[in-house]
């Protein structure tokens, strides 16, 4: 089996329009959470989100191209462009034919659907815009990436709620590792700030009225985020041979299903996914130094994740550094695992562990070292990135510093 290197990274989210800005915000512990501006929030109980503020398609796409793309698909292409440029991919006809694209998205272009359905349900019109379907489909991100680069190889989208991008990156990693493809563009994108979707989140009563405080005793729920992160991954040997810059290696992927409850997390399911990732990577628990936690800041997730980490790591849990970067970029649903996998890769590359921002008060049920509020300089060899979705579908990635 081949080793797999991350040679390209792209990001756009509340704390950065590109990977360099994203890394700098993580280092500074700067939160991108604030009042939602892209949607009228007057009839929504919560007011805050982690948006790409002041976003316009115009620096990225001409108007006609943008007509065909929901915001989530635009984010996907923007991040993929940066990742491909960063990796200095040398395209050949063969590579375009065999390269893979695996993306994650939870709600796809539901914002477009929301607008379209208002036409018939609310405004009483008899027609919905003909681009509603192609803009709404969750695979639109992958499709637009394929068209952008003329990639004709295996391309698909995985939708497993908050684990979508974790499952996508894991699948792409296995495809490169096994020799099925020599290059993959993989990650996730999401743009859920639309009235109907926000009302549905409001009804679940899991969104914080102020900010996202993972693992803090006074946490009051999650904060929705948007954006995308995309990675270019390829065999380590090939990357070295062409002199590519390597951000980090992906060394393992594990997944599990809770088979328990449609929304409540199970620490057993989370633990099984972490163990599966360690087994896939051939790592002992003691070799892990940092975990980018799922850390949603809901009352239920954080203690369950803490218990899962304790179950997997035993006494070593005390020596782990753990943080939830959702405290800064929000919970970007189907893009979350991609932003967080990238955050973990940057932490290994730069030797700077991102903090858990907005942290106030120790919770006895979340009593791990969660790197409160300030980033930490530390060279770690191995890291995990945890994602545990509604529906109990879990995905964990294992990374190695280069």
């Amino acid at each position: 089996m081949r080793r797999v290197a991350i040679t390209g990274a792209g990001a756009i989210c509340a704390i950065g329009r590109n990977t360099a800005e994203f890394a700098e915000s993580l280092r500074q512990g700067r939160s991108g959470i604030g009042p939602v501006e892209s949607t009228d929030m007057s009839q929504v109980r919560f007011q805050n989100g982690a948006e790409v503020r002041g976003y316009s398609h115009q620096p990225y796409f001409d108007d006609r191209r943008a007509d065909f793309m929901d915001r989530f698909a635009q984010f996907a292409v923007i991040a993929a462009r940066e990742a491909v440029a960063d990796a200095s991919v040398e395209w050949t006809p063969e590579l375009r034919e065999t390269a893979a694209i695996v993306t994650g998205s939870c709600v796809g272009g539901q914002s477009t659907e929301d607008i379209g359905f208002q036409e018939v349900y609310k405004l009483g019109h008899n027609r919905v815009h003909p681009l509603t379907i192609p803009k709404t489909m969750a695979n639109a991100g992958a499709s637009h990436i394929s068209m952008e680069f003329g990639i004709t190889g295996p391309s698909f989208t995985i939708s497993t709620a908050c684990s979508s991008a974790g499952h996508a990156i894991g699948q792409a990693f296995w495809m490169v590792r096994s020799g099925m493809t020599d290059l993959a563009i993989t990650g996730g994108s999401e743009a859920p700030f639309s009235f109907g979707i926000l009302k549905a989140w409001e009804a679940m009563r899991v969104v914080s009225p102020d900010t996202c405080r993972p693992f803090s005793k006074d946490r009051r729920g999650m904060i929705l985020g948007e954006g995308a992160a995309m990675l270019v991954i390829e065999p380590l040997e090939a990357a070295r041979a062409r002199g590519a810059r390597i951000h980090a290696e992906i060394v393992g992927f594990g997944m599990s299903a809770d088979a328990c409850h449609i929304t409540q997390p199970s620490s057993e399911g989370a633990a099984r996914a972490m163990r599966a990732a360690l087994r896939d990577a051939g790592l002992a628990p003691e070799e892990i130094g940092y975990i980018n936690a799922h850390g949603t800041a809901t009352p239920a997730n954080d203690p369950a994740e803490t218990a899962a980490i304790r179950a997997v790591f035993g006494a070593h849990a005390e020596r782990l550094a753990i943080s939830s970067t959702k405290s800064m970029h929000g919970h970007a649903l189907g893009a979350a695992a991609a932003l967080e996998c990238l955050a973990a890769a940057l932490a290994l590359r730069d030797g700077i562990l991102p903090p858990t921002a907005n942290y106030n008060e120790r919770d006895p049920d979340c009593d791990l070292d969660v790197i409160p509020n300030q980033s930490r300089e530390a060279r770690m060899e191995y890291a995990l990135s945890n994602s545990f979705a509604f529906g109990g579908l879990n995905a964990v990635l294992a990374l190695r510093a280069t």
Partner: protein, 88 residues
Amino acid sequence: MSDELIQRVLKVIATSKRIPLETVTIDSEFQQLGIDSMDAVEILFALENEFDISIPDDEVRAVRNVRDMCAGVEKLAAAKSAGAQAGQ
């Protein structure tokens, strides 16, 4: 609390959770009824519709039994009718 209000709340809980009405009493704890967090959120949604009230998240965080739920609904329903009378 009025019996009428209590009966309406019990009925909402039983209907939403799809359990026989006679299993739900003013003294029931959510745990006894097998009401988990998602069930509770659904019941709140049904109560908002039944009483035409809006139940803030902060009001429900500590509610673990039917009695507290009835008391909360009564308070919000009273505030609503006082508001309606003040408006007349």
